[in-house]
Amino acid sequence: MGVTLSSTILRKVAMALSGIFLMVFLLQHFVINITSVFSAAIFNQFSHFMGTNPIVQFLLQPILIFGVIFHFVMGFVLDIQNKRARGTRYAIYKGSANSSWVSRNMLTSGATVLAFLALHFYDFWVPEMNYKYVEVLPEDPTRYYEELVHKFEDVTRVVLYVISFFFLALHLTHGFSSSFQSMGFNNKYTPAVKSFGKLYAIGIPFGFAFIAIFHFLNH
């Protein structure tokens, strides 16, 4: 995978496409989660639909998993290639003079998000798979809200989640507008894209963090 994408520009575009795909997913995920703040019933309804709909389960979910794996594997591949392209390292390299920290450390912020994803899978996806396919328990359309709230009773988990969302925000601060540039989109709308990107990059992770803290304080 990935490695066979033959040119630097195609690899870059693939990176951007997978990033945009993940950002769309993230928005959808957020919209569902935020309902849990307002109404357990609505949250359960959405979650029951997502958890049982065959298109979501057997088409969208595999695509999502592929998208995530593709994105981070490609991220590591590009980073290795880029380090190699430098050869001998500089004794003094003043990156801060000409570029932002976030833009130079996408791998660091990305890897933090990856570590979070591992925890997140362990928290929700593994129990879900266990529930449905290992123990094959009968579906209870009202179980989701309880499961969610239960997870956020633990302060350690809430702290880890909030830290991860902070790194996600850093990742997206550069990633959002960067993906447009990679796709060849740079014109009079670019300042608007950048502003909207900042809004998304801070807003969505902040929202997720809010949800986690909300349930922690409310239980």
């Binding site: 690899r11 870059k12 290639q81 500089y90 003094i92 990679s182 740079n186």
Partner: protein
Amino acid sequence: MKLILKIWRQENATAKGSMHTYSLDNVSPDMSFLEMMDVLNEQLMEQGIDPVAFDHDCREGICGSCSMFINGEAHGPDRLITTCQLHMRKFKDGDTIHIEPFRAKPFPVIKDLVVDRTAFDRIQHAGGFVSVNTSGNTQDANAIPIEKADADKAFDAAICIGCGACVATCKNASAMLFVSAKVSQYALLPQGQVEATDRVLNMVKQMDDEGFGNCTNTGACEVECPKGISLENIARMNREYLSANVKG
């Protein structure tokens, strides 16, 4: 002023290099950086030490040959200048200045601060030209009307001097800014359309074959470029490249 210079010395392409320290007195703030290097070299020769090899030619910011990575930045701390346009007034008495060659796998060191940038020439040969019949019935370029905005943008791209600062400064050693400038200067003009598809495909292929890195849009190139070549050109090249791939 008095300076401590830490300079990369490397005998030849295969030798192992290292940083050497020299101290230099009586540097005038009005000197250009290269004049300061000349003074250093005279001092070294008097001491029987091999002078520091560095690239230079025009010394007025138009040829692009002077390179040098100074205190962690291509062409040093100032903006929109080459090393020959950098002045010692940018530094303070007692400063330590680190001077390294432009570093990239495709820019191997020849000696000291001199690097081989012929990778750029090969990229140009791959498509950075228009084929014009010059057998006597050449059309006057001005006979083809071109919108002012396009002409300006083409010119802004064409002022790239091929110095390689973009590669040197990019954390990924990507040559996208250079190549995109060379693609854009033709892509924006009707004269460039005939070979547009092959041009972008061949130049990008050559760029990749040379071993330059993948762009991650940090924007460092645009900041360090002595000619202020814009990232817009990279987006334009990506568009050209994608549509050329679709056309095949």
